[in-house]
C-alpha cells in the first residue's frame, strides 16, 4: 500500500464543501486498490507531462468542472483522497469518447474513468446511484434483450427536444417498421429480432461473469427482476445455473 501524499491537491475540496459524505481513508484506499487491481489499469497510465492536450480535446471539459488531466494525475500520485472525490463527483461527466487518447505519454484517462466507474457501481457509491437514477430502463433493455435502444423508446414526451418527427415515429411505429425491407427489423421493442437461443447464451454471460450482480448495489429491484427473468428462461431451457 502506498502512502498518501502529504499535501492535498489544490483541486481537492474540503469535506465540508464537497458534495458527498466523507468516509475513512482506509475505505478510500480500498476503493483505489480495486481500481488498480483491474487488468487494464497498467495499460492506461504511464505518467503525465502536464501538457493539457487531453483537456483541450475533451468535450466534457468545455462544459463541466472536469479534467481528464486531473484524473491521470490523481491516479499517478495515488492521491486517494482526490480519487475518492473524483469517483463521487467527476467520473460521470466524462463522455467516454476517448479523445484524451491523444495523450503524448500514452495515457488513457477515459479508460481509467471506465474502471473507476465500475468500482463506483460495484460498491454502490452515491454518485453511481445518482448518475444512473434515470437509467434503469436502459439497463433492463440491454441485459434482457441484448439490444440497447428500441424503436418504441421514441416517444414524444421522452424526447420532446428531438423534434416532432419523434412523435411521428411513435404514432406510425408498427406500420413504419413493417415497411422496412430487412426481415430482422420488423420489431418494435428491440432494434432487431434476437433469437431465443442467443438470449440464453447472453444470460449465461451476464450470470457467469458477475455482471448482473454488479447492479445489486445500485438498483436492488432491477436486479431482482432481471435475475428472475434470466433464471426462468434458463430453467425453461433445462440449463443449470
Amino acid at each position: 500500500m502506498t502512502a498518501m501524499l502529504p499535501t492535498p491537491s489544490v483541486y481537492f475540496k474540503r469535506p465540508d464543501v464537497a458534495g458527498h459524505a466523507d468516509v475513512p481513508i482506509e475505505e478510500k484506499q480500498r476503493l483505489f486498490d480495486e481500481v488498480k487491481a483491474d487488468v487494464r489499469y497498467k495499460d492506461y497510465l504511464y505518467g503525465c507531462y502536464e501538457c493539457g492536450i487531453c483537456v483541450a480535446a475533451c468535450p466534457s471539459a468545455r462544459f463541466y468542472d472536469f479534467s481528464p488531466r486531473r484524473i491521470a494525475q490523481a491516479s499517478a500520485r495515488e492521491d486517494v483522497e482526490l480519487i475518492y472525490q473524483q469517483m463521487q463527483e467527476d467520473i460521470w461527466e466524462c463522455s467516454q469518447c476517448f479523445s484524451c487518447l491523444r495523450c503524448p505519454r500514452g495515457n488513457n484517462p477515459g479508460g481509467i474513468i471506465t474502471i473507476m466507474r465500475e468500482v463506483a457501481v460495484n460498491n454502490g457509491l452515491a454518485s453511481a446511484k445518482e448518475a444512473l437514477a434515470g437509467y434503469s430502463r436502459i439497463i433492463y433493455k440491454i441485459m434482457s434483450t441484448g439490444t440497447q435502444v428500441s424503436p418504441d423508446m421514441l416517444q414524444r414526451d421522452a424526447f420532446p427536444d428531438w423534434g416532432p418527427e419523434t412523435g411521428d415515429v411513435s404514432e406510425n411505429l408498427d406500420l413504419w417498421r413493417r415497411a422496412l425491407p430487412s426481415e430482422t427489423l420488423h420489431t418494435t421493442s428491440t432494434g432487431w429480432e434476437v433469437s431465443d437461443r442467443t438470449l440464453v447464451e447472453l444470460y449465461l454471460i451476464w450470470l457467469s461473469t458477475g455482471s448482473l450482480d454488479m447492479i445489486a448495489e445500485i438498483d436492488g429491484s432491477l436486479h431482482s427482476i432481471l435475475s428472475e427473468l434470466m433464471e426462468e428462461l434458463l430453467e425453461d431451457e433445462g440449463i443449470e445455473i
Binding site: R40, Q148, P151, G191, T209
Partner: protein
C-alpha cells in the same frame, strides 16, 4: 509517481511487445495464440481489397459473404442507416448474412453506466464472433462504438491470459470456441474500399452537393492503428473513410475547424443528460461547420454521431442558433447516389434535421417520393402485404 514506474517495470519484466503506436501489431500475436491452440482465428475467404492504415499496415477488406453485426441504435432509431448498407451491398451483388443470432456489443450501455466488466464485455464480443464463425460469413461491424470496443477487447484478450481463461470458461458453457476474426472491419471501411465500384453504379450527380465530414471518435481514436489513413486523402493526416467515399461520388468536401471534436454523444448524456449533448453538438460542431463551410449535409459513420448531430438541432432553433444542416450516414449518401429511394430505402422520415433542401439539390422530388412511400404503406394497411421486402425497394 509510483504507479507509472510500477507499470513500466512490470511490462519490462514481461518483455516489451509494443512495436508501433499505442498497440502492437496484433496479427502476429493472434497467429501465435492460434498456433498454441488458445484461440480460433476466423480468416477471410474470397476476394479482398487492401487498404492502408494509420501506421502503414495494409488491412484486408473482404468484399462479399459478410456477416452483418448490426447496431442497436441504427436499427432502433435510424433504420435507414442499416437498410442503406444492405441495399448498397445487394446492388453491388455481394451476398451477406443478416443474423438473428446476434446481440449488440452492449458497449453503449457499458460506456454509459459501467454496469459490466471486462470479462462480460469480452464474452459478449467473442459470442458474436463465434456466431459469425459458425456461419462461415466474415463479420462486418455496423457501429463505430462496437468496432472500437471490439478492438479494445481484442487487445485485452491478447495481453491478458487471465482474461482469456475467464472468457474461455464462459464460452465452454455456451459450447463455443474463443474466436477472433483476423481483422475487425467497420462497414465504413467496406464503403471506402468499394468506393470505385459504388461510384461506377452512381445514377445521381452530386457535384453540386457540399458536404462536411464528422469522423467518429470510436472509429479512429480507440485503438487507432486499425483505422484507414490514405496518403491520397488529407495527405494521410486524417482518417480517409467517409471523405474518400464522398470524393469518389463527386461531392465537394468542405473543411471546418472543429473536425477532430467529438459530436457530444456522451453515451449516458444523450439519454439522460442531453443539455450537455445538445450544447456541444450545436455549438462546437453544427454552428462551426455552418459558419465556416455552409454544407448541404454533414456525413458521418457512426450510430451515436448521426443521432447526436441530427437530433440536437431542433431545440437549438428555439434559441435562434445558427443550425440547420442535414445529417446522413455515408451509407445513406452512397445509396442516394446510386438511386435509392429516400424514404423506402434511406428512411429519411426518421431524421429530424431538414434534409429536403439537400434532396432538391440532388434532383429528387421529395413530395413525389413521399407519395410513393405512402402508397406502399397503403398496401400494408389494406393487408395486401404484411411487410415490404427488397423487391419493393426499386
Amino acid at each position: 509517481m509510483t504507479i507509472p514506474i510500477e507499470a513500466i517495470k512490470s511490462k519490462k519484466a514481461a518483455g516489451f511487445t509494443r512495436k508501433e503506436g499505442r498497440y502492437p501489431d496484433f496479427q502476429e500475436e493472434l497467429a501465435e495464440l492460434e498456433r498454441s491452440g488458445e484461440i480460433v482465428v476466423q480468416r477471410m475467404t474470397g476476394e479482398t481489397v487492401e487498404v492502408p492504415t494509420k501506421y502503414g499496415r495494409p488491412k484486408k477488406i473482404q468484399k462479399g459473404h459478410l456477416w452483418h453485426h448490426k447496431s442497436c441504435g441504427q436499427c432502433g432509431h435510424i433504420p435507414g442507416y442499416s437498410t442503406s448498407i444492405f441495399w448498397v451491398m445487394r446492388k453491388l451483388g455481394y451476398d451477406y448474412e443478416d443474423p438473428k443470432d446476434q446481440t449488440s456489443c452492449t458497449a453503449w450501455n457499458y460506456y454509459a453506466s459501467a454496469t459490466s466488466n471486462a470479462a462480460a464485455q469480452a464474452a459478449v464480443a467473442v459470442r458474436n464472433f463465434a456466431a459469425a464463425y459458425e456461419t462461415g460469413y466474415f463479420p462486418l461491424i455496423h457501429c463505430g462504438t462496437s468496432y472500437g470496443h471490439y478492438k479494445e477487447v481484442r487487445h485485452e484478450l491478447i495481453e491478458h491470459p487471465e482474461l482469456r481463461a475467464d472468457v474461455r470458461k464462459v464460452m465452454e458453457k455456451l459450447g463455443k470456441p474463443l474466436v477472433l476474426p483476423e481483422e475487425i472491419v467497420h462497414y465504413s471501411e467496406w464503403f471506402y474500399a468499394m468506393r470505385d465500384e459504388i461510384a461506377a453504379l452512381q445514377t445521381r450527380d452530386l457535384s453540386n452537393i457540399a458536404v462536411t465530414v464528422h469522423p467518429a471518435c470510436h472509429y479512429y481514436k480507440l485503438v487507432e492503428g486499425d483505422a484507414i489513413y490514405d496518403p491520397d486523402v488529407y495527405g494521410g493526416q486524417r482518417t480517409a473513410v467517409v471523405t474518400g467515399l464522398a470524393q469518389a461520388l463527386g461531392a465537394e468536401v468542405r473543411d471546418y475547424s472543429t473536425w477532430f471534436d467529438c459530436c457530444g454523444f456522451g453515451f449516458r448524456h444523450i439519454l439522460v443528460q442531453r443539455d450537455f449533448t445538445r450544447s456541444f453538438s450545436t455549438l462546437r460542431k453544427i454552428e462551426r461547420m455552418k459558419e465556416e463551410a455552409d454544407p448541404d449535409v454533414v456525413l458521418t459513420h457512426d450510430t451515436g454521431c448521426v443521432t447526436t448531430l441530427d437530433k440536437s438541432q431542433f431545440a437549438a432553433q428555439a434559441h435562434d442558433r445558427n443550425v440547420g444542416v442535414a445529417v446522413l450516414s455515408d451509407a445513406q449518401f452512397a445509396a442516394l447516389a446510386m438511386g435509392a429511394h429516400p424514404y423506402k430505402v434511406c428512411q429519411l422520415h426518421w431524421h429530424s434535421a431538414n434534409y429536403k433542401p439537400m434532396l432538391e439539390k440532388m434532383g429528387i422530388d421529395h413530395e413525389q417520393a413521399w407519395a410513393e412511400f405512402q402508397q406502399e404503406l397503403g398496401r400494408l394497411e389494406r393487408g395486401e402485404k404484411k411487410y415490404l421486402d427488397w423487391d419493393d425497394m426499386d
